[in-house]
């Protein structure tokens, strides 16, 4: 008997213990999260910087309110942290982010309009194929040496054009097999010449400029040496940089610490040198959950939020010391693709079963699928209401977005009409049958482990089954999926996502050019590169080529508008939604003007701490 009492006591104790660990006070904020959609980002930053010359030095003057010097800003990155601090070697986002802090480029992007504006350059003029860049006089590297045209020419000629490090910039500016040229006019003037007019080039000039006297010895020792040059093991004092902050300490798997560059070329209205902050710290955290804990524990000053956390933070914001900002749709594009491939493999077998080809290559069928998909429902249930429906390949914050494409709601009757037009019919039990009597049944893939895409898959399956199709939804391992999409090409329908660029549609050329390496809906292998194109593919090829050649924004916009319209009509990819970026930032930071294109920290040199 006594024993029984003991056992019960222990059980009760354990139960109480676990109860204590649970948060019983988590209400459901569904309404709250849906509201976030309407608190739209202001995109407000009225303080365009000005060029001023003081004692022969060409400074860039901040127009934002004058703040106090001192303080630390702690942000974080998820994952393993930077892999290199060499701006030309970085292949991942975090490494580029870190080197962008340390090395400034000639130009940068206006955080509101997306225009190209000068940074390390004092100004620039574009004349057809010629780009004339004037540099600032009297500004210095962090070791006191002046920044001159030699550095610019060296960076472009000897590092980028010669193919050192990550060659993605070089690859993207080769036009008809030819590279642009760069030429020193005098110590503070540089001229770039592209072989033909090439609009995307000006944005490429935002890539960092390297100090010649530091990088030249490394370049002379060859590419293999350069790959390990300025790695994460390099002592911080060996970095000679031009950015607002310089490296102070890197602790693997823990943090990157930057300290202010005391000799930066941006000054405030009192002519004092910025940045205000003493230190900028990026903690390296392994996953989102830990990041949230660290923010709640006060170790982080800024965090970007997702899903259910947004509602919780919105609630905490009321009595917390931070504000939640809506930064608008992100640059991710999630889509459904159907395999439009009509070719045979080496064994003479079709990649796609001919009876399925008939469906996927039918524009009415693709449109019917589009009309059957309930984007709103997905946004509400999967993205916690924190997303916007997407109908175009350009992201919603893109400056090239075709505003005339309004999209549509789910409408099964339109779907059914479209299918009837193509000879589909329904049998007695409601199954969709094509005109040759085949039941419409195919596989839907996505990468397993991505819970968002898996959830979308389930809902797409349900939506399409309302049309009488039979969908076999198969989430498979990411690498196997990539192999299917890129090599074996034996797939029917897939849910995938790309990261787009809000500023430059030409970044999507690998997807949209019919011989592109990522022409996912009709991937052409090496042997098929000259196979027949669909008429709409030919048109997009033309528009993409012309869009890159035209230099005026208005002209380019026309080409890219038409391509978006074609994609919307032809539906090679059916876009689903764009998640909204939500960030939380502590209120003690002032001069904070989050924008959709620039994020929270686009004006990091103007941000200051004020404890009030």
């Amino acid at each position: 008997m006594k024993r029984v009492i003991y056992v019960i006591l222990v059980l009760v104790f354990t139960a109480l213990f676990f109860k204590a660990c649970l948060r019983a006070d988590i209400p459901i904020y569904k309404q709250q999260s849906a509201n976030m959609n309407h608190s739209y980002i202001l995109d407000y930053y009225p303080y365009k910087k000005k060029n001023v010359t003081i004692n022969g030095v060409d400074y860039l003057q901040s127009q934002a309110p004058v703040g106090k010097f001192g303080g630390t800003f702690v942000s974080s990155t998820i994952g393993e942290g930077p892999k290199t601090f060499n701006p030309f070697n970085s292949k991942d986002n975090i490494s580029s982010q870190m080197s962008d802090i340390m090395y400034d480029g000639l130009v940068t992007t206006d955080p509101v309009t997306g225009d190209t504006i000068p940074k390390l350059a004092k100004d620039f003029t574009i004349n057809g194929c010629e780009y004339l860049i004037h540099l600032r006089k009297g500004i210095k590297w962090s070791d006191g040496k002046p920044i001159t045209a030699d550095d610019v020419v060296f960076t472009w000629q000897n590092i980028i054009f010669d193919g050192f490090g990550n060659t993605s910039i070089r690859d993207s500016i080769i036009i008809d097999g030819k590279l642009p040229t760069v030429q020193k006019i005098d110590d503070y003037t540089v001229k770039f010449t592209t072989p033909q007019p090439f609009a995307p080039f000006i944005r490429m000039l935002s890539s960092p400029i390297a100090p010649k006297h530091i990088f030249e010895p490394a370049v002379k020792r060859g590419k293999a040496y350069f790959d390990g040059f300025l790695s994460t093991n390099t002592p911080p004092k060996d970095f000679v940089t031009s950015g607002a902050f310089k490296l102070k300490e890197y602790v693997p798997a823990q943090r990157v610490v930057f300290e202010r560059n005391p000799d930066y070329y941006i000054i405030n209205k009192d002519d004092k040198k910025l940045p205000y902050l003493d230190k900028l710290i990026y903690l390296i955290v392994g996953d989102i959950n830990n990041q949230v804990l660290k923010f709640e524990g006060g170790e982080l000053d800024e965090i970007s939020l997702q899903g259910a956390n947004v509602a919780r933070f919105k609630e905490m914001e009321k009595h917390g010391d931070f504000t939640v900002y809506n930064l608008g749709p992100n640059t991710g594009t999630m889509y459904i693709a159907m395999n439009l491939n009509n070719r045979k493999d080496d064994n003479g077998k079709y990649y796609v079963n001919p009876k399925k080809q008939l469906w996927f290559q039918d524009k009415n069928f693709r449109q019917a699928v589009d009309y059957a998909i309930d984007r709103e429902n997905m946004i509400f249930n999967i993205a916690n209401g924190l997303a916007e429906p997407l109908f175009t390949p350009e992201t919603l914050n893109s400056i090239f977005l075709n505003e005339n494409i309004k999209g549509h709601k789910r409408d099964l009757s339109i779907s059914k009409q479209l299918l009837k037009k193509s000879g589909f019919y329904w049998d007695k039990s409601g199954n969709l049958i094509d005109k040759f009597g085949n039941h419409v049944e195919f596989d839907l893939y996505t990468n397993a482990g991505n819970t968002e895409r898996e959830a979308i898959g389930v809902m797409v399956k349900q939506d399409l089954e309302d049309l009488g199709m039979k969908i076999n939804f198969k989430p498979i391992e990411f690498n196997s999926l990539v192999n299917k999409l890129m090599a074996t090409l034996d797939w029917d329908m897939v849910i995938m996502g790309f990261t787009g660029s809000p500023l430059e549609p030409n970044g999507g050329k690998n997807v949209w050019l019919s011989d592109g390496t990522l022409h996912i809906f009709n991937q052409r292998l090496e042997k098929d590169l000259n196979s027949k194109r669909y008429p709409f593919e030919e048109r997009i090829d033309y528009l993409y080529t012309q869009g890159a050649l035209a230099t005026k924004f208005e002209d380019r916009k026309k080409y890219y508008d038409e391509y978006q319209q074609i994609v919307y009509n032809e539906k090679p990819l059916i876009y689903i939604y764009s998640p909204i970026i939500i960030s939380a930032l502590r209120d003690k930071f002032k001069n904070v003007y989050p924008t959709s294109l620039g994020g929270v920290t686009h004006n990091i040199e103007e941000i200051y701490v004020s404890e009030e």
Binding site: V10, T14, C21, T72, V74, G79, E80, K83, T84, N89, K91, N166, T167, S168, D171, S172, D227, G228, S231, T232, N233, K248, E249, V251, P252, A253, Q254, R255, V257, I281, L283, V285, G286, N290, L293, K294, E296, G297, G298, E299, E477, F478, N479, S480, V482, N483, L485, M486, M496, F498, T499, G500, G507, G508, K509, N510, V511, T517, L518
Partner: protein, 325 residues
């Protein structure tokens, strides 16, 4: 002399073992459908040339046997190769090994110095309330999953603000005095050590208690008591020496766990140790890094067993006699 020959034999035995371990691990990693370049392939801004270069750089264009041969050759020379990011594997490991060693050796030290006495005490006070309470506590300690316990403690840290949320050092570590640095690291270590300590303490205490109880029940202990020896002498001189043998084997395994035993806890606490590094390497199929860590694990296990066996020879005359026969 006998012992030396024995050790030599054991070391020679490890060579085929290591070859088999490396072969199996290498092939399993390479044959698994993890493509280290899959992310790049689906990135619209990566050109075909870049992909081709990366494939060549990582040696993925060659057959697996050739890849293995290349790896084995440099491994024998003591070169662990480079990671998929081009950093040296050895420097990567060197960054992390001290951190993991610090954590695990503190835990093992604490667990042994608390667990053994507690086990002995529990055995001596068998079936008293003291023993019962310890039994309940250690059962809880053994039953609670480490990652779960770690998460609970993390939430505790966030809610109370008494402890830092993960990591090993504070962000202003560089400016601290030596004493402050020691305090800072201790402050960060408290929670992860608590998790690992609770787990290994529970096991060790139970083991020690069980062994000692077995021995206390044996005839020679009864005889020693009958002889009129004091209780202290009976337990510490006669019983304990015999009860500790299985624990020495356990020590061998603990040694093997020095570098790899704390991976889960490290991950939850964002501790900059080997566990996190290797987990990330496996996810990326970073072959050289994974292989280095697997080989390290194998060597540590073999070494731990060897040390345990040698210690057994020293402490237990029965085994000593046996190995000579």
């Amino acid at each position: 002399m006998q012992i030396l020959i024995y050790i030599l034999k054991r070391i020679l035995q490890t060579i085929p073992l290591l070859i088999i371990v490396s072969l199996i691990s290498f092939f399993i990693i390479r044959l698994s459908p993890v493509d280290p370049l899959a992310e790049l392939r689906l990135n619209p801004s990566v050109s075909k040339e870049t992909l081709q270069r990366e494939t060549e750089r990582l040696g993925l264009d060659k057959p697996i046997i050739v890849q293995y041969g290349k790896w084995a050759k440099s491994f024998i020379k003591g070169d662990l190769g480079v990671t998929s990011n081009g950093e040296k594997v050895s420097t990567k490991l060197k960054e992390r090994i001290p951190n993991t060693l610090l954590l695990t050796s503190i835990v093992i030290f604490l667990a042994w110095f608390v667990g053994i006495p507690l086990g002995v005490l529990a055995a001596i006070n068998w079936k008293t309330p003291f023993d019962r309470i310890l039994t309940v506590l250690t059962s809880i300690g053994m039953a609670i999953p480490s990652f779960f316990f770690a998460v609970l403690l993390l939430i505790f840290a966030v809610k109370t603000g008494w402890f830092p949320v993960g990591g090993l050092t504070s962000s202003n570590f560089l400016e601290m005095t030596f004493l402050q640095k020691v305090c800072d690291i201790t402050h960060h270590l408290v929670l992860p050590v608590t998790v690992l300590f609770t787990l290994s303490l529970a096991g060790l205490q139970r083991q020690m208690r069980g062994n000692l109880l077995d021995v206390l029940d044996s005839d020679y202990v009864k005889f020693a008591r009958a002889k009129g020896l004091s209780e202290g002498k009976v337990i510490f001189k006669h019983a304990l020496r015999n009860a500790v043998n299985p624990l020495i084997t356990l020590l061998g395994f603990e040694f093997a766990g020095l570098l790899s035993g704390a991976a889960l806890t490290e991950y939850v606490f964002q501790y900059p140790g080997l566990g996190r590094l290797i987990l990330e390497a496996v996810l990326r199929s970073d072959i050289n890094l994974v292989m280095a860590s697997l080989m390290m694990g194998a060597v540590m296990l073999i070494l731990g067993n060897l040390i345990a066996d040698i210690l057994l020879i020293i402490t237990d005359p029965r085994i000593r006699e046996g190995s000579q026969a």
